[in-house]
């Protein structure tokens, strides 16, 4: 181990500079994660990467791996009829879905922040999606109930009569493009609320962490609600907002309803572990690039108190 020896020599021969000390302690703090990362993530991940370069067959004595080079990757990009198409459409959908989810959750968090009658109830209600959507319950719900809701979105049952709304709008002379945009957003509202539970909770915690004295000072200075929001609330929650944006992006991409993820799972169920991993790895590399770009762009504008 390099760290303890560094500590020793640092103490005996020359004292470490403050910066070196800081770096050492930082590394010590993240050490458990680093060990776990290498042992439980990177090594299994490299093993999985190796699988993508092979063809796996169930032979007489267990699994047999034949090395085939980049054949799986070539197949994904040049021969698979669906991969590129689903990949691009899922990226394009993300571009408008994520902002909607983030704005929605910020709005809800802001509404649920202040004390009002029934706040505990309202908060519990908005937490339901987190409880349900992460477990096996959602799959059962999807089979039994969401089926109803989804067909409701197209107007056949009573929950959302989007078709009626569409007719009203069309008859009142709104342009068809606008009507379409409006009705698709409304029919997605169910999806939207179910995707934003985690973000709402995160933002709510962030809103509660803003010191009350900031607002008191602002009121004395005569700030309006609008100014209070943009000059205090928004900058103060911006670090959490960054988490919420990145979480929303990742959640959108790795959701089991996502078409690429569905492809990954179907290929896995068809017994093509190596091809499933191949498309998954290409997919995650692309997501990582997107997330890092977003992190760069938003990260620069984030305000940290210290």
């Amino acid at each position: 181990m390099a760290l303890p020896t560094a500590l020793k020599t640092g103490r005996q021969k020359r004292r470490m500079t403050l910066r070196q000390k800081e770096a050492l302690y930082g590394r010590l703090f993240i050490l458990p994660w680093l060990i776990g990362l290498v042992y439980f993530f990177i090594i299994p991940f490299i093993t999985a990467l190796y699988y993508t370069l092979t063809k796996i067959k169930l032979g007489d004595n267990g699994l047999e791996f034949t090395f085939v080079g980049f054949e799986n990757y070539l197949y994904a990009f040049t021969k698979d009829p669906n991969y590129i198409r689903t990949l691009t459409s899922s990226i394009v959908d993300m571009l408008y879905q994520v902002p909607i989810v983030v704005f929605f959750s910020m709005f809800v968090a802001y509404v649920l922040r202040d004390e009002f009658r029934g706040r505990t109830f309202a908060r519990a209600v908005f937490f339901f999606p987190v409880i349900i959507a992460s477990g096996v319950v959602i799959t059962i719900l999807k089979e039994n109930i969401m089926g109803d809701v989804n067909s409701a979105a197209s107007g056949s049952t009573t929950l959302f009569k989007v078709e009626n709304l569409r007719m009203i709008l069309v008859n009142s002379g709104v342009s068809a493009w606008l009507v379409n945009l409006f009705t698709t957003t409304i029919s997605h509202i169910f999806d939207l609320t179910w995707r934003s539970g985690v973000q709402i909770l995160l933002l709510m915690a962030a809103l509660h962490n803003i010191p009350k004295s900031f607002y008191e000072a602002a009121i004395i200075e005569g700030a309006t609600e609008w100014e209070k929001f943009w000059k205090i609330t928004f900058p103060m929650i911006s670090p959490t907002l960054l988490v919420a944006v990145i979480y929303s992006i990742i959640d959108y991409f790795t959701d089991y309803g996502n078409y690429v993820m569905r492809m990954v799972v179907t290929q896995l169920n068809n017994g093509r572990f190596e091809y499933s991993t191949t498309i998954a790895i290409v997919y995650f590399a692309i997501i990582l690039v997107i997330v890092l770009i977003v992190n760069r762009i938003i990260g620069r504008r984030v305000v940290y108190l210290s």
């Binding site: 590394r27 908060r123 519990a124 962490n209």
Partner: protein, 335 residues
């Protein structure tokens, strides 16, 4: 409102003050009206599935076939709950879940907090690239690495120490950790548990936004980095800790992919729920006499099972969220 009235009397000479109060009241009224409308509307959307579950789970066999029953069953019965309880082995499964959940949740929250603090407050060369890797680990779901990970736990060699000893003694030291909760404890302890990377990210953002004065004061009083962390940062991070605790509890409770992989007996509740359907079939095959009844109750039993899985979490949230707001208001120093 009373205070405002008193104020308005004492400052009546200021012209337009009353008007301002009325405007404010009107604005508040609109705000409240809008808020309640919004919450009622959203509650309908969000509660719809739960209400559906409750309505169906309590129905008697007669009501299940009666089209005139829409929401409120005419004959209440807890038969589906009894059947679900019997098939799930509820008490036993809950115990199995808790054996995994409680230590994992505590270890995971603490480790993630520590790592998040390390990322937030210390500068070192490779920090940015490690942080990039951290984000990558949020993205990659367990499914990609599950097969190699399974093999790792099947022949667990204590971080290659077992293998190293094998070189000297000629005998590989490895134990089988599958079917023990150690799989989860180890993953949690080394920051690789269920969504650990996300929690590290949350804590990192939280600690970065804390004022540095606290740590400086602790440093002047002679605290080293670790005692600063334990004595100053942890007590002030209650809000973030409770948020993360809620998430860890929910995600551990709901996890069925990893549990189904690592466990073959002593199944936790979520895994039991996934096989509930098959168990019902087996039960009805074994009891031909009541097979018809069981078949009728099939979907309502499934719904009762869902409710039995969800309800503990809702209770935890309602208790937790009260503490969640109070604690933040109490600690004060962070805000």
């Amino acid at each position: 409102m009373k205070a405002l009235k008193g104020e308005s009397i004492s400052k009546r000479q200021i012209s337009g003050f009353d008007k301002a109060i009325w405007r404010k009241r009107f604005f508040n009224f609109l705000k409240n009206l809008f808020r309640y409308l919004f919450i009622i509307g959203m509650s309908y959307v969000l509660l719809y599935p739960i209400l559906f579950l409750i309505s169906n789970a309590f129905r008697d066999k007669v009501d299940l076939l009666d089209p005139s029953v829409v929401w409120i069953p005419k004959h209440f019965s807890v038969e589906s709950f009894k059947l679900a309880n019997q098939i799930l082995g509820y008490a036993e499964s809950v115990k199995n879940t808790l054996v995994i959940l409680i230590p994992s949740v505590i270890i995971q929250t603490f480790v993630c907090m520590m790592v998040g603090y390390g990322f937030a407050r210390f500068r070192f060369k490779e920090r940015e690239i490690l942080f990039g890797i951290l984000i990558f680990t949020i993205i990659v779901p367990m499914q990609t690495i599950i097969v190699p990970l399974y093999v790792k736990f099947r022949h667990f060699d204590f971080f290659y120490i077992g293998k190293l000893m094998g070189v000297f003694t000629g005998k590989l030291l490895s134990i089988n950790l599958l079917d023990t909760p150690w799989t989860f404890y180890l993953l949690s302890a080394f920051g690789m548990g269920i969504r650990s990377s996300l929690y590290i990210f949350i804590f990192r953002q939280f600690f970065r936004n804390m004022p540095t004065e606290l740590e400086e004061a602790a440093k002047i009083d002679g605290c080293g980095p670790f005692s600063t962390f334990i004595r100053v940062m942890v007590p002030n991070a209650t809000g973030a800790i409770i948020t993360v605790l809620l998430f860890t509890i929910v995600w551990h409770w709901n996890d069925y992919y990893l549990s189904a992989m690592f466990f073959t007996d002593k199944l936790p509740l979520s895994v039991m729920l996934t096989i509930l359907n098959e168990r019902i079939d087996i039960l009805s095959n074994n009891n031909p006499a009541s097979a018809n009844d069981i078949y009728l109750l099939r979907s309502s039993t499934l719904e009762a099972g869902c409710l039995m899985v969800i309800i503990p979490l809702i209770v935890i949230y309602i208790i937790g969220q009260r503490y969640f707001t109070e604690s933040i208001e109490r600690t004060g120093i962070v805000g």
